[in-house]
Amino acid sequence: MKSSKPKFALFKRKYLCIPYGLFLVMFIIIPILIIVYYAFTDDNGMPSINALVGFFTNWSKVNVLITSVFIALQTTLLCLLIGYPLAYFLADKKVNKNAVLITLFVAPMWINFVLRTGATRDLLTWMGINGGNMPYLATLIGMVQNYLPFVILPLYTTMLKLDKSQIEAAADLGANPFQVFYKSILPQSVPGIVSACTMTFMPTMSSYVISDTLSEGKITLFGNYIYLDFANNLWHDGSFMALIMLVIIGISMFLTREKGGAEQKGGKSW
């Protein structure tokens, strides 16, 4: 039988994504293509691998990359160590009535990022940890402080959804409190951990304001380098480094998706 659709049904639901599609092409896809173009051309617009060779033969650039990955990993780990127990604690309805406490923990995000980092620098200097004597520590503290809310929120959402009966089942089957934690609570919170890592690791890799401000320029992260290259009109080198960043983020996205997907279905909690 022929279905008699009214005229306006010609407007299909998928048309609704046209505005975003345009945005995607204009501000994400085309810029990426431009980056790729600049990364593999020379000043005359001819294909070239000068930037690639230049990057891998310049020890200081590779070194900055390694440092950045290292700092990002450390920040993520520290954030998890602080944020995980905190989120678990906050997810207890008795402690966090009406979710007031969680709002307090997320409140720093409401303040301008540059301003906040400036304040952190002053505070740290007052405490004796300044860019002059401990640039690495100062940067790390700044990073953790800045990205902690991004760890707490997804973990908190996951913790709220913890299945109490699964935890009880584990205890019932003979798991002591420690075993209950790593055999039931931890696996259940994997989706939260994955999104927390994604939301911390990637931005820390590329951020440069924090390290710049807090280490007084002593620690250069990958983001700083890219910025510097563009500032010095070295568009091809800058673009190539941006591309490397893109690849690293792509790889980490791929890895976390794989993990999160296998561990729990529909696990994305943010």
Partner: protein, 518 residues
């Protein structure tokens, strides 16, 4: 002392959550190898009782003995008890095999330490050295596969939990519990989420499994049919208290009170009076019965719908109990009729096809009339007291009711200051006097909403008595009002109750002299 062969024994166990008593001083002995069902409506404390046996909740009072040993404060992971949860609580991040193996992988068993030559190593006291070791992979594998065979799911061992149907998940949950060879298997409404057909199948399978495994099953459900089908013993609970313990047959045929009768199966419940030796009067008709109660005692009678015998008659005769069929529902094997006798309803199950409007004679075999002691003919409040405004407070706390205190002393009256003046002029101050208050079931008025009476509460229980309802209202202060009403209410309704001043009967505890003002 717990009786012999008793595997688990609850002794005076109570549980209070935030001031609300959920389980109220229950004592229960369960024999080894029994299939015990704890049956009751939601909120009766049955799940809490089970959780206390499992160790998830600590009793506020009382002790729990397992094989005679006190396990009241032992955490769940140290108890030889396993639970099948209401919503299965399977681990979604593990496959079927690993779910079942979960408990076995954690388990440690004592093993004698042996040296290279296979001789046992002795410790300094000359005893064999014993080490706790995990089960070997092979042992675990054998046990898991055996458990999966028991539930007929061995071919699904490496499947993801989320790909299983509800019934299959249920089986995995059972396998996960029985694989640990617990002494007691606790089942918390495990079939609640299954459809009717599946549920019936699983009931029989569970019963079968119980026979094969020979371990004690404690099963919690609100489904009376499930309880009757599977159990050796049924424990009926209501409002945190045990109403009756017995075999399914006992509970069905000889319920101890109207609540149990109403809860177990369809039943007609009526207020009745004993009119003679083994004669009982209800529905304005005298029936022969087999139970012996004192003459003139008010009782409840229960008649199962299938025990009512209908005979078509053409006219009403005085010696017969006659009624008129008002509704008819076909139920497959039988018809369900509603017969009106005056204002009272009689529910009947009959295989004969009759017509709505038929006049029928109603008979019941004497042995099918179950007579129960009336639980309550009046509300009695033994801990009531009088406040300084000459009002009565029924419990320790609670809202005051206006009452007539002059009934405490014959011929007395109140002066303008509120003191009680006796006939011969003596003066009494009744403030804080302890009394027993009694209120008749028909003297309490029930009104919708919280703010329309002397006090308020929620309806916790309703029993239909043929032509009226008996409703139980519980206040915040845990005061119960049982009352008769003609109107239909629902469990959980928020209501107010009102009692007229003259309907509260007071009896003073002790002599009135001690309240005299000299």
């Amino acid at each position: 002392m717990a009786k012999e062969n008793c595997i688990i024994s609850l002794q005076g166990v109570s549980k209070v959550f935030d001031g609300t008593t959920v389980v109220d001083n229950i004592s229960l002995d369960i024999t080894k190898g029994e299939f015990v069902t704890i049956l009751g409506p939601s909120g009766c404390g049955k799940t809490t009782t089970l959780r206390m046996i499992a160790g998830f909740e600590m009793p506020t009072e009382g002790t729990i003995l397992l094989n005679g040993e006190d396990i009241t404060s032992i955490p769940p992971y140290k108890r030889p008890v396993n639970t099948v949860f209401q919503r299965y609580a399977l681990f979604p991040y593990l496959d079927v095999y690993d779910n079942v193996a979960f408990g076995l992988k954690l388990k440690k068993i004592p093993q004698v330490v042996k040296d290279k030559n296979g001789n046992p190593v002795l410790d300094k006291d000359g005893k064999e050295k014993i080490k706790m070791v995990h089960l070997s992979k092979k042992e675990i594998d054998n046990k898991v596969m055996k458990a999966l065979r028991t539930i007929d799911l061995e071919e699904l061992a490496d499947r993801d939990i989320s790909t299983l149907s509800g019934g299959q998940q249920q089986r995995v949950a059972i396998a996960r519990a029985i694989v640990n060879e617990p002494e007691i298997l606790l089942l918390d409404e495990p079939l609640g989420a299954l459809d009717l057909k599946m549920r019936k199948e699983m009931q029989l399978e569970l019963k079968d499994m119980h026979k094969k495994l020979g371990i004690t099953f404690i099963y919690v459900t609100h489904d009376q049919e499930e309880a009757l089908t599977m159990s050796d013993t049924i424990v009926v609970m209501k409002s945190g208290e045990i109403q009756q313990i017995g075999t399914p047959l006992d509970i069905y045929n000889e319920p101890v009170n109207a609540f149990v009768a109403d809860f177990i199966g369809e039943s007609n419940i009526y207020n009745a009076t004993m009119t003679g030796n083994k004669k009982v009067r209800f529905l304005n008709h005298v029936f022969d019965c087999v139970d012996d109660f004192p003459v003139n005692e008010k009782v409840d009678v229960v008649i199962r719908p299938e025990d009512v015998i209908l005979t078509k008659v053409s006219e009403v005769k005085a010696e017969n109990l006659t009624g008129k069929i008002v509704t008819k529902v076909f139920k497959g094997v039988h018809y369900e009729y509603l017969v009106m006798v005056g204002k009272a309803e009689v529910e009947v199950r009959d295989t004969k096809d009759r017509e709505v409007g038929d006049l029928v004679k109603i008979d019941v075999e004497p042995m099918n009339i179950q007579i129960m002691k009336k639980e309550l003919t009046r509300n009695i409040y033994p801990t009531a007291w009088i406040n300084n405004k000459n009002q009565v407070i029924l419990g320790e706390d609670g809202d005051p009711f206006e009452c007539d205190v002059t009934q405490l002393l014959k011929g007395s009256s109140l002066d303008e200051e509120g003191f009680l003046i006796s006939q011969d002029g003596k003066k009494y101050d009744l403030n804080d006097a302890d009394v027993t208050a009694e209120i008749g079931l028909d003297a309490i008025e029930i009104i919708d909403g919280y703010d329309n009476g002397d006090t308020n509460g929620d309806i916790v229980n309703i029993v239909y008595k043929g032509d009226h309802y008996q409703v139980m209202v519980r206040t915040d202060d845990e005061e119960d009002f049982i009352l008769d009403t003609l109107y239909t209410w629902n469990e959980g309704d928020q209501v107010s109750v009102k009692v007229a001043k003259e309907n509260i009967k007071l009896t003073l505890k002790g002599e009135i002299n001690k309240y005299e003002i000299k």
